[in-house]
Structures are given as structure tokens and as C-alpha cells.
Point group: C2
Chain length 587, copies 2
């Protein structure tokens, strides 16, 4: 009912201004994956808690656009008398707008829409109304403040290069007099700084300008900076956030050209630069590729983070099977909490790298499921439990980001579950053991993870792998393993390997490890699996495995034993050993 009142207020606003629609994306001016609380306008107005959403609010009816992962969730969370839910796969937003706007007046907040998007919009509609203020911000009661979290600096030892060295790698790709950095993860990586402005990701939400000289001007309130003397921030000028507009206006006059990426720069800023007479050079993100190729310190950090993380996951998996065997009552939320406790035993663990997906039985088939009091299932009976989780790690000697999924048999899973889990596993192993020539991209390899599912007429409706940051975002570009990813895989990139299978209303399967791209020899590259957590042997039909697949499983679990044998108690050790014995007995 709270939402309904807000919606009425918005409708009144539209009526009072004689606007037909307000178009609202689920983003802020930084276009990061996660939003700070005070930017979750769609959640405030509609109750929807997923990440991908666009809403066209109307005076009468509103239209809600999301993708296949969130359709079920939207149907649960939205007031269906107010919102028509559309799947962007069937009806892309832009196409819907082309077909439905006509001469109607549509209002936008150009501070939270990219240049690319608004240019597309302007191509087919003459009735775009650019709002000065976002009307939801005016309606919003008890809106949270900006977090303004403390900004801290990563030691050069931990991130491998100081900011000045990193800038030298980027400068050759700046063709203008300066680059405006609008994407938070680029700023954090380039300046070796972090903050806690949003959940799960150590981002500082701020803008910066990188000049051709290598100098940087960072727009952040000085009061937020901790330990600035030890920041190693050579040639970085700090300017208060409020002064950004004025500074950019001045720069537009001083400099001939400014470089931006129109995909991740908001239209308001672009327009502001243009008005002030600056020539804008649009070039695709020049920091992203460099950031994705981890240096040796970042690789060391990834390996160490995965040791800590894998230990927590292994303890959790032991705890789960033991507790269930002992007849304890465990539900999704309890399990999620327990896994967090195990992670917190590591002194380097900061917080989860995303909200865990702790899902039993039918909930496992909801790919981006998050358990709540309403949906929480007891883990009991005969089915599968799927747990997808990760952590952000920061210690004295390393930092890193993890992401791991395990699917566990509960009771006696059906032979269909076992067969499908084995097919997912065969795909996972094929990708994990792949050697591939230089100049191979993710799209070239994607089928390896799908082949054994396809042979049974099955598939999964998501990519096979995404890039992962170094103590940054758990989803990072430009590399990926999917049908569409044309980015060449290069040594130092870290990607997930996460094929799955989902049977709606019944169960979900996913096996996810992170992998590092390594050089195998002069001609070939290969993956090194970073994640360390046992795979449930009870879900494997060993008759379906080839010798190299079994060998991979044995080696993988022996590696886990080797890392953890001195770090776990006798009870867990015996359990882990029994898993290894099982794998060995099937060769």
C-alpha cells in the first residue's frame, strides 16, 4: 500500500505537468551493477527488488520491462493492476517506445540515462521532456542519504602497480586532451582506492578526469579520505564534489577535446559539455581491457582469496550434510547465514560480493533467487540445494573477489537429477580443461559447456561465464564466455565457469568455479581453476564420465585436500577424504 501512495503522487505529478509518461531506468549516474539505497527509485515506487528493470510510468497504466530471470519475481512483487510486465526478450523497450510513443510526451531524467540511450530516443521522438529534477526524489519520503563512506587506499603491494604506473598504460589510448572517468570501477582501479558507497562492491561513486599529462582530478569530499598521506596518490588533485559542474564548465573552455564513453556517461553531462563548447570524442571504455588483465599481485590475491573462500565453503558443505544427517532443521536463510559465519572466520573477509542465492528445490530454478521470510524453504526431503555466493577479501598481503556455486544432493535425488547434474559437470570440466590457441574468444568456447546438455535437448538461459574483478565488481567486462563475447581471452583474465540446468517448479543445478587464463605454451592458452570446494559425488553418474573427466575430478579434489588438510579438523578431513576415495574408486 505504501507503493500505491507513491504511485498516486507520481501520477499527480505527470498530470500537473501534462506529461504522458515518465521513463525510469534502474540506474544512477554511475551505471554500476548495484545501486546505493537512495538511488533505488524503482524499488521505492514498485516494490521490485531485482536489478534489471525499466519502467514507463503513465497517468493511468504503467509498463514494466525486465528480462527472463526476473519475470516471475516481478509478478510476485508488483501490483499487477497498475503494471503490465513485459519481457525485453519479446518486446525490447526501444521497440515498444517506437511503437507506442507517437506524439505523446515522455519525460526523462537525463542524469541517469546514457548518452547512447538518449540519442536513440531522440532519433524517433520529438516529444522528449528533459526534467530538471527527478520527480521521485521529490516524492520520496525518508529517502536515505548518500552513504559518503570512508575512502581508503590499497597498498601497491596488494594491487601490484601504483596509480601512476597504471595511468601510463592508459594514456596512449586517450586521443583527447582529457578523459572523463564516469564508471566507478575504472576510477577505483586506476587510483587504487576503494570505499563502501554500495553493497557488495568496494566502490567509490565519484567522477574523475585523467589528463593527457597523466595528472588526475578526483571529485570527492576531502572529509571522506582516510590516511591520505599514505595514499601514494602522486599527481592527483582532490576537488570537492559540489565543484564538479563548475570545474567541468571551465575545462570545456580550456581544453579543445574531452573523451568520454557514450555508453557509460550520462546524457546530462554530455549535454553540459557540449553547451560549454567542448568537442567530445566518444571512445569505448579504454580502462576496461587493461583492468581485466590481472597483474601478478592481483593473481596472487585471487589465489589467496580463493583459499580463504574455499575453506569457508568446504566447512559449510560439511556442516550442512552433518547437520541434516543429525536431523537438524535447516532452511535457506539459516544456511545462508551459516555460510556467512564461516566466511567471517577469515580475517581478510570483508563482506559478500553479492547477495547469496541459497535455494532449495523449486527455488533453485529461479536463477536470481534471493530467499526471504516469504519464500524461505526448509532443506528437507529428496531434492537439490543450490548455493551461489562469494566474498570480497582484503588483507595485508592480498585482496580479491570470489564467486562460487555448488549444488548438493538432499535426501535421495532422482536419477533425472543425477543425469542432468552429470551433464552440467561434463560441460564444466570440458571448459575447465580446455586448451585453446591464442586469439580465441569466449564465444568460441561457450559450446563446450553446453554440448552434453544439448545432446539431451537441454540448455540454460544464461551465459557460461563472466569476468571477475580484483577486489572490485564480481561481474566485470570486457571478457565473458558466451555466444556473444568476441573479446579475445588473454593471460591474466579471470572468468567464471558456470553451466547449469533449471527445471521450473522442481530444481536448479549450477556448478561454478572461477578460472584464470594462463599461457600453456607459445601457441596455446589454458585455464587454471581458482575455486576450491568439493563437488558432490552423490550427484554424479560415473558411468557417464570419460577417463579424462574422472582424472580432472580426482586431481581437483586432491588439490583441495592438499590446501586444506592442515586447516580443517579431523572430522572434516575424514569427510573430504571419503569424497576423494569415492572419485578414485570410479576410475
Amino acid at each position: 500500500m505504501k507503493n500505491q501512495k507513491n504511485l498516486v503522487a507520481l501520477k499527480n505529478f505527470l498530470k500537473s505537468k501534462d506529461l504522458d509518461f515518465l521513463l525510469l531506468p534502474n540506474s544512477d549516474q554511475f551505471f554500476s551493477e548495484y545501486l546505493p539505497q537512495n538511488q533505488k527509485r524503482i524499488e521505492y515506487l514498485t516494490g521490485f527488488t531485482g536489478s534489471n528493470a525499466w519502467v514507463v510510468f503513465g497517468q493511468e497504466k504503467s509498463y514494466f520491462f525486465t528480462d527472463g530471470r526476473y519475470i516471475l519475481q516481478a509478478q510476485n512483487e508488483l501490483d499487477l493492476e497498475e503494471f503490465e510486465i513485459l519481457n525485453i526478450a519479446d518486446k525490447p523497450l526501444i521497440r515498444w517506445l517506437q511503437e507506442n510513443i507517437g506524439t505523446k510526451k515522455i519525460a526523462i531524467d537525463s542524469k541517469i540515462l546514457s548518452v547512447n540511450f538518449v540519442k536513440t530516443l531522440l532519433n524517433f521522438s520529438q516529444n522528449i521532456v528533459f526534467l530538471e529534477e527527478n520527480p521521485i526524489d521529490e516524492i520520496w519520503q525518508n529517502r536515505p542519504n548518500s552513504s559518503n563512506s570512508e575512502v581508503f587506499f590499497c597498498d601497491e603491494k596488494v594491487v601490484g602497480l601504483n596509480s601512476w604506473q597504471k595511468r601510463q598504460k592508459i594514456l596512449p589510448q586517450i586521443t583527447a586532451d582529457a578523459l572523463i572517468i564516469t564508471k566507478s570501477e575504472n576510477l577505483c582501479w586506476l587510483l587504487n582506492l576503494r570505499a563502501s558507497d554500495i553493497d557488495f562492491t568496494p566502490f567509490l561513486l565519484a567522477y574523475a578526469i585523467l589528463f593527457k599529462s597523466g595528472e588526475v582530478e578526483l571529485f570527492v569530499d576531502k572529509s571522506r579520505l582516510k590516511d591520505i598521506e599514505n595514499s601514494n596518490l602522486e599527481k592527483v588533485k582532490i576537488t570537492e564534489t559540489y565543484a564538479f559542474e563548475k570545474r567541468v564548465r571551465d575545462l570545456s573552455k580550456e581544453l579543445k577535446t574531452l573523451q568520454i564513453d557514450e555508453k557509460t556517461t550520462n546524457y546530462w553531462l554530455y549535454n553540459f559539455l557540449q553547451i560549454n563548447g567542448c568537442e567530445i570524442i566518444n571512445k569505448s571504455d579504454v580502462i576496461e581491457l587493461q583492468k581485466s588483465i590481472k597483474n601478478s599481485a592481483e593473481i596472487y590475491g585471487a589465489i589467496e582469496s580463493h583459499k580463504s573462500d574455499g575453506l569457508a565453503v568446504t566447512k559449510f558443505l560439511f556442516w550442512l550434510q552433518k547437520s541434516l544427517k543429525e536431523g537438524q532443521e535447516i532452511d535457506e536463510l539459516k544456511a545462508e547465514e551459516k555460510l556467512l559465519e564461516f566466511r567471517q572466520q577469515s580475517s581478510e573477509f570483508l563482506y559478500p560480493s553479492f547477495r547469496s542465492i541459497s535455494s532449495f528445490a523449486a527455488n533453485g530454478a529461479v536463477i536470481h533467487y534471493h530467499s526471504s521470510e516469504k519464500t524461505n524453504k526448509k532443506i528437507a526431503g529428496n531434492s537439490l540445494y543450490l548455493i551461489d555466493s562469494g566474498g570480497q577479501y582484503l588483507g595485508k598481503n592480498f585482496c580479491g573477489t570470489t564467486d562460487v556455486t555448488r549444488t548438493i544432493s538432499i535426501g535421495k535425488p532422482s536419477s533425472e537429477m543425477v543425469e542432468n547434474f552429470t551433464r552440467v559437470l561434463k560441460g564444466h570440466i570440458a571448459l575447465a580443461r580446455a586448451k585453446f590457441p591464442h586469439n580465441t574468444c569466449g564465444a568460441d568456447l561457450d559450446v563446450l559447456a553446453r554440448f552434453h546438455l544439448w545432446q539431451a535437448g537441454l540448455n540454460y538461459d544464461h551465459g557460461t561465464g563472466h569476468g571477475v574483478g580484483a577486489f572490485l565488481s564480481v561481474h566485470e567486462g570486457p571478457c565473458a564466455i558466451s555466444k556473444r563475447s568476441r573479446q579475445e581471452l588473454l593471460p591474466g583474465m579471470i572468468l567464471s565457469n558456470e553451466p547449469g540446468f533449471y527445471k521450473a517448479g522442481e530444481y536448479g543445478i549450477r556448478i561454478e568455479n572461477l578460472m584464470l587464463v594462463e599461457k600453456f605454451d607459445e601457441k596455446f592458452l589454458c585455464f587454471r581453476t581458482l575455486t576450491l570446494a568439493p563437488i558432490d559425488p552423490n550427484l554424479i553418474d560415473f558411468k557417464m564420465l570419460t577417463y579424462p573427466e574422472k582424472k580432472w575430478l580426482i586431481n581437483y579434489h586432491e588439490q583441495i585436500m592438499q590446501y586444506f588438510s592442515t586447516k580443517i579438523n579431523q572430522e572434516i578431513l575424514l569427510w573430504l577424504d571419503s569424497i576423494c576415495v569415492k572419485f578414485n574408486s570410479f576410475v
Copy 2:
């Protein structure tokens, strides 16, 4: 020496006209895969007999560009004091021209260069001299005449649709007033006619114009048309070839717009149309996709052609092993000839669909090898024999084009050869048995054929599969199975499946079948293997095969037995049965 005299004459021409270079492609005005004898200018001047070549002739030195497949061959065939050989993979022709032309004058014959190419050239050079006549044609002594072969018509029953029906499928894609058809295979397919203007492919080399009304004007000398009354050529006007220029000039004035494909239209024609005031609409080949999706009669034709072809290959393979066992001396040329004899036993066989690659031992590593008196090897000792061949078939009830490669053990092949053959076979089978969702392209599947080679650090430097025509070209677009092919695979397409492995100086392995894309169910497609010829069990390490791979081999050979059991003598039947028994014994 003959070539040297010709080269001198060409150099004199360049000097007399004050030209620095003549740029010559290995093509004619129709841009087909094979050239008629009187268009083989590069062969006449340089002695090179391969297909891919570009030559920049200079007053002093000349530059010869080809790809990796032909570098060795060019080194053998060219006078290396006259020609510098360049691999286009290392030094693309266009890049070389950009770096080396400068202000030099470079002459071209715009009748044998595409619009695309000449436009690129004009982008960076102001000194292009357009020749009225090709100087080689003037030098050329005893130049063969155009073949002017008889044009014949394919019965509707054999090709499935009459020309008028085919035109209805193409018309919606013509956005201009008319389409100029410059690619021979499109003309032959659209009008259901064929001729013998070039080797291996039943092409009529001619132009035609398809009007928006569906009417066609075909430019060919009437004297070449056989049985024109029964041609079913509704609404086709025949105009003599010599009148083409005049007719096009008139049309340029009559019609507002003319559609061409700049990739396969020569620049001379494009320029001629422009001069005469016609607006040209450039659109990628609109006939190609339709042609690649075989109708039921074409599919029936492919199946029947493969039965005839497979029978010949099976008899040949039996003959080869038997003759060698009996101690007969057999060499590459003799084997090639014998295979032709077996094919000729079929009344529907017309001629080979390309020059056979009959190669023993080290010759097998030359991917596009053609045996000659000079290179002919005796098939003896311990190694591998590779035979890649195909046929054009035309009977009363069907027509079709085939392409098949088998690699055969001679003596006792090494365990390395056996291992690598098995890896190639595993890739071949993975692709052959693949089920894949709709909207999958060849690039998505390519890795399936390579994975098992990659795991051993091996690879092959060619695509995995090409499209194949229906009694047309053995290499046909737009579909392919390769890293680069983004064309969606659609039911009715026919493609080759031909992974290989080549060890320079030692041996070559390739296993090639043609496959038809079929609908498996509402969500998935699959391949149906068309080629019917046994695979040598002596080259397989059965321990390396999985159960589904063995099962595929058994089913495949049982199918061969089933088709041929009534068509072969007892001796061959027993041999074939012994192969089946061997496959069965290893499950």
C-alpha cells in the same frame, strides 16, 4: 622459360606506358571459385596453378600474394628471381599497397576487380590507371577460346521448384527496380539452367537482370541453348551476350534504381551504370541464403548422389587395400584415376566436383595438394594415404554434388598417427552428433571439431566445414562451420564436416563427410550425415573413444552395410562386414 618470355612482354608494356605496376587478381568478371582456361592469366604468366593469388607486376620485380595453403606450391612453381612471395596472413595485399604504392602508377583491369576492392584502392591512391584492355590478353599467344558450352535445363522434378517459383522468393528482397545478377551460381540456381563453362562446376558464365516484375533478361548466345522449348523458362527474355552493354546503358536511363552486390560485381560495370545516370543500390547477395536452404527435391538429390558416390568410394577403398595386399604397385595418380573409374560406373555421375587430392605420406600434409608426374608418390611403406574427392551427379530423378575425404593406413602407421587420427575422428563425431538450439551459427560449433586436437596442443589451419551446392559449386555460401561464420544454421543447409591434422613433411589426416541440417524438435536442430564410406578402423585407438562415439561409428557403418549390401559383391561385403565386426567388438 615460356613464362619468362611472357613476363618480358608484360614488362615492356609497363615501360612503354610508363606504368610502375600492374595489379592482377586470379579472377574473371564472374568471381567464381574456378576460372575458365582463357581467364587463367596468372597461370599463363607465372606458372602458378593454385586458386588464391594476387600479383603486383613491376618493371623490375614482381610481388606474389597467396595464403598459407599455397606458399609451398608457389615456391615450387614460380621463378623466385622474378617474384617475391608474400603470405597474405602476414602481409595483406591492401596493407602492402598502402605502404608501397605512394605516388607510383598502378594499372588495373577493372573488369576483373570487384567494386568493393577498387573503392578501397581509390581511398588511398590517386594514381590508379584504369586499362581499357587487359595487357595479358594482348600478349597471350594461343589463348583458348571461351568454352561457350551447351546450356541445358534442369527438370523441375529434379530441382524442386521452377524458376518462377524461385523468383517469387527473391523478389521481396529486391529494393531497386531490378537486380543485376553477376554471380554465375545465382543465375544457374534461379533459372534452373547449367552449362560447362568451367571445370568441375556446371556453371553458365553469364549475366542476367531480374526485374521487380519477376521477369528476367538473360544475356547468352541463343546458339548455346539446347531444348529451349522444354526449359520451363517462363518470362525469361534471351538477349545475345554482345548486346549486354547497350542494353544496360538503355536500362540505366529507363530505370530509377539498379541493385547489385558490390562484393561480386566488377567495378567496370558499376562505373558504366553510374556514368549512364543510374542510381545504384548495393545490397549483400540476396539469392545466396535462399539457395543454401535446400528444398525437398534437392535434399532427395543429395541423398541419392551420396549413395552413388559412397558406393564408388567404398569400392575404391576395398580395391586399394586389396591391391596393396596383393603387392600391386599403386601411386597417387593411379589411385586418383581408379577412383574416377569407380565413380563413372554410376550412370548419373558427370564429372568430379573438384580436382581430387590423392596424397600419400608427406604430400598429405599439403592441404590443397594435386598430384603430378613430378610429385607423384608410390603408395607403399608405413604411412597414411589421404584422398579428398567429389562428384557432380545428374540423373533423371535427381542431381547433386558430393565431397568426401578418407585417410587410410598404409603398412603399419605409427602410434602417433593413430592417436592423432583418433583425435580428428573424435572431433568429427562430436560435430556429427551435435544437437543444437535454433539460432546457432557455425562459429558456435567449430570448437567441437577442434577440442580433442587442442587438448594435445594440435590444430588445423582451415575451416571445419563449408556449404555445398545442389548440383552447383562444391563450396557455397553463406553458411560454414568456422570461427568466423556468423550465419545461422537452418534446416536444409548442407555443410561439410572435415577436421584434419597435418604434420609438414610427414603426413596428413582429414575425415570429411557432408551433413544436412535437420530439425530435431521444436527447440533443437541436428545434422544428418549424408556421406557413406567406411572409416579405417586400423587408425583408431578405441581406448580413446567414449561409448557414444563408438555407438556412432557402429550405427554409421551399419547404415553403409544396409545401403550397399545388395550393390556390392561378396568379397567387398565380407570386407565391409569385417569392419563392422571390428567396431562392434570394441564397445
